[in-house]
């Protein structure tokens, strides 16, 4: 039929144009990078096959870590207010209650061994450079001791799930730097302090699920340097599951009507489809008189 032919020509012209300005242009402007690596296989300083000893880990953590970090779930409260902690370290050290749950085991062990290389921040903190990273390297610990610390952190992590887990993971992993005003969540480190410490202001993440979208976030959080070379945002070392929880939290905050949109969408389309059919039957009736 002639009208279908016309429709096909229009669809082809529109389709070619659409392909050029959307998928193709996107592909040119945002070239694919290496896929996310949740094994953090670039780091091999610590033998993570060793089984950790929780009791020994507890001793090591209490001796080394709680001077800076709180671990509220284990009864170690924060020893100074956020503003003072930020003044002392540049950034408020995160609470470690969920550390054993959210960080990948291999990442965590290697982070304790050497934070700067684990976070991919060697360009900011070169060996022997003027600036020192606020958290010391524990490369003097044996691999066994580090795995003891990891085992202890895993043992204190509370089991959470659902939306609570989404928020808890976000707070622990991102909350010291980023605010999310649409979730009424403010960065624990004061604004000026974090800017001075990072050299860049961590953006408010309220709408980043929309502006960056899931695919980008999936790669970026796993390794910021791959997508934004030279950025001061550190690699944070989340497991794939924890990262999905963070992204889910960003979506609940930035795109809270998604479920409503998708279910209503089907109904509206069905409704207009029925309208189109009725209109077609009516048109057939009317035109049968004039043809």
């Amino acid at each position: 039929m002639k009208e279908l032919k016309i429709l096909a020509i229009i669809a082809a012209l529109v389709g070619i144009t659409y392909y050029g300005i959307e998928p193709y242009a996107h592909h040119i402007m945002h070239p694919e990078v290496k896929p996310a690596d949740f094994a953090f296989s670039d780091m091999k300083n610590v033998d993570t096959s060793l089984a950790g000893n929780v009791d020994n880990g507890k001793v090591l953590v209490e001796a080394n870590c709680i001077a800076c970090h709180s671990i509220e779930k284990a009864g170690h409260l924060q020893i100074m207010p956020n503003a003072d902690a930020a003044a002392a370290y540049g950034v408020v050290p995160p609470d470690l209650s969920s550390a054993g749950r959210i960080y990948d085991k291999n990442y965590l062990a290697n982070f304790i061994f050497d934070p700067v290389s684990a976070m991919h921040l060697s360009h900011k903190y070169p060996v022997g450079g003027a600036k020192a990273f606020p958290m010391p390297s524990y490369n003097w610990m044996s691999a066994q001791e580090i795995m003891d610390v990891v085992a202890y952190l895993e043992s204190v992590s509370p089991k959470v799930s659902g939306k609570d887990a989404h928020k808890a993971t976000y707070d622990a992993a991102c909350g010291r730097c980023h605010s999310m005003s649409y979730a009424k969540s403010e960065a624990t480190t004061p604004k000026d302090a974090i800017k001075a410490y990072m050299g860049a202001t961590p953006p408010d993440l309220s709408q980043y699920i929309k502006s960056r979208q899931e695919h980008y976030l999936h790669g970026f959080i796993n390794d910021p340097q791959l997508l934004l070379a030279g950025t001061s945002m550190p690699r944070v070392g989340l497991t794939e599951k924890a990262q999905e929880e963070v992204i889910a939290y960003m979506e609940e905050t930035g795109d809270s009507k998604k479920a409503e949109r998708e279910s209503l969408g089907l109904w509206v389309m069905l409704y207009t489809f029925v309208f189109a059919i009725l209109a077609y039957l009516w048109k057939r009736k009317i035109w049968s008189e004039v043809h």
Partner: protein, 416 residues
């Protein structure tokens, strides 16, 4: 004054005073449209409906939007999108509708070009249509600024900057348009005024003019045939509906349009709910920041072809800077469609494919516009810049060549 009888019904009461019967006949049941048309002739009605949808969804947005640089972004992305019941629905409908309306405008325009519906008495339809195109462009551009995202800001910056190229008064002109030396709160508030008041008013006026311009020359048909509408109408009214070449606007013409509208709306709502990124650019969900230039700045898709004509001239020719050349080409591109009826020197009113030379011109233009649109989005580096230059030149040459091509065609077909 006429004498008024006691009315027997409410309808009659109104009819006596407003002449409803007569009015409906003139506007609907005895407004004649050729029978020999396809679904492309439904685009005008689709556009009218889309304009209605945009006005209604816009009114809902207007109830919560705040035209202030400190509040605009959150009033849209938080208040409207997340707090107000179904606020997101109105925003999606409005934003996707504004984009899709241009798709339909382009189909409508190129239908007019394809079937030669812009000449031999139809010049005013065409000119009022082009006026609508310009007004819709202004409406789209001013509206895109309102959410005050990164692309709002930077597209506004780049586009207002263009006026700086106007000789002598350029610099002052830019400041006058922006209300400041840079894109700022005063720019946002005045574009808000344009978007919700002045431009929509002008659009309504132009739609009235467009519809009025259709009445005397009548709508064209698939064969480009000229016939006596009065005679065909008489035939129809006498009951010979099958042999008459015309149908009334209501219900016959509109019954077909409603069906086309239904199919279109299924597609439209699919985009509204499930596929809206093309109209609501992700970059625009970053708040405007005058200190942070985005890696890629591009206007909305429907401006890309003319944006590429502007960018295409990136080097000096004969002592004139690339920037000035681009600006001249851009000015030509904005105006040239207006004079199309006079550039086409062939008297033929026929579908392009039945015109011996024009058909090549038409399809060449389509291809060139698609190339311009795609390369208007891609970064203008390396070969992209040269393809942009070549397609901008092609665009200009096509219009320079049109009078010659169509004159040759006129000769060949012997004035038919």
């Amino acid at each position: 004054m006429a004498e008024f009888k006691q009315a027997d019904s409410l309808y009659e009461w109104f009819d006596q005073r407003l002449g409803i019967d007569k009015f409906l006949k003139v506007m609907m049941t005895e407004y004649w449209i050729p029978k020999n048309i396809n679904f492309l002739w439904a685009m005008g009605v689709l556009l009218s409906v889309m304009f209605g949808i945009l006005v209604i969804s816009g009114i809902f947005l207007l109830m919560y939007y705040k035209p202030d640089v400190n509040m605009a972004f959150d009033s849209v992305n938080y208040t409207i999108m997340q707090e107000v019941g179904y606020g997101w629905l109105f925003r999606h409908i409005h934003a996707v509708g504004a984009s899709v309306v241009f798709l339909i405008i382009y189909i409508h325009m190129f239908t007019g070009i394809y079937y030669g519906s812009y000449k031999k008495g139809r010049e005013m339809i065409w000119i009022s249509g082009m006026l609508l195109f310009v007004l819709f462009s202004a409406e789209g551009f001013s509206g895109y600024m309102l959410p005050w995202g990164q692309m709002s800001y930077w597209a506004a910056y780049v586009i207002t900057e263009i006026f700086g190229g106007v000789p002598l008064i350029g610099g002052d002109l830019v400041v006058w348009i922006r209300g400041n030396f840079y894109v700022s709160d005063s720019t946002l508030t005045r574009f808000f005024m344009l978007h919700v008041l002045l431009v929509p008013l002008a659009i309504i006026g132009a739609i009235v003019l467009h519809f009025y311009a259709l009445r005397f020359p009548h709508v064209n048909n698939e064969a480009g045939e000229f016939f006596d509408f009065d005679k065909e109408a008489e035939k129809y009214l006498a009951g010979d509906k099958k042999n008459s070449k015309v149908v009334p606007f209501w219900p016959v013409f509109l019954s077909k349009d409603f069906f086309v509208l239904g199919v279109f709306l299924v597609f439209f709502f699919y985009l509204v709910f499930f596929h809206y990124d093309f109209a609501m650019d992700p970059v625009n969900f970053d708040k405007a920041d005058g200190l942070k230039t985005p890696a890629h700045i591009y206007p909305e898709w429907y401006f890309l072809w003319s944006y590429e004509v502007l960018r295409g001239f990136f080097f000096e020719i004969a002592g004139i800077s690339g920037k000035s050349l681009g600006l001249i080409a851009f000015a030509v591109a904005q105006g040239v469609f207006f004079v199309l009826p006079w550039l086409d020197r062939s008297p033929m009113v026929k579908p392009a494919n039945q015109r011996p030379y024009f058909k090549y011109w038409f399809w060449f233009l389509m291809v060139d516009l698609i190339v311009l649109t795609v390369y208007g989005k891609l970064p203008p580096t390396g070969t992209n810049a040269w393809i942009g230059f070549a397609s901008s030149m092609t665009f200009l040459i096509l219009f320079i060549a049109l009078p010659f091509i169509t004159r040759a065609e006129a000769k060949k077909v012997g004035g038919k």
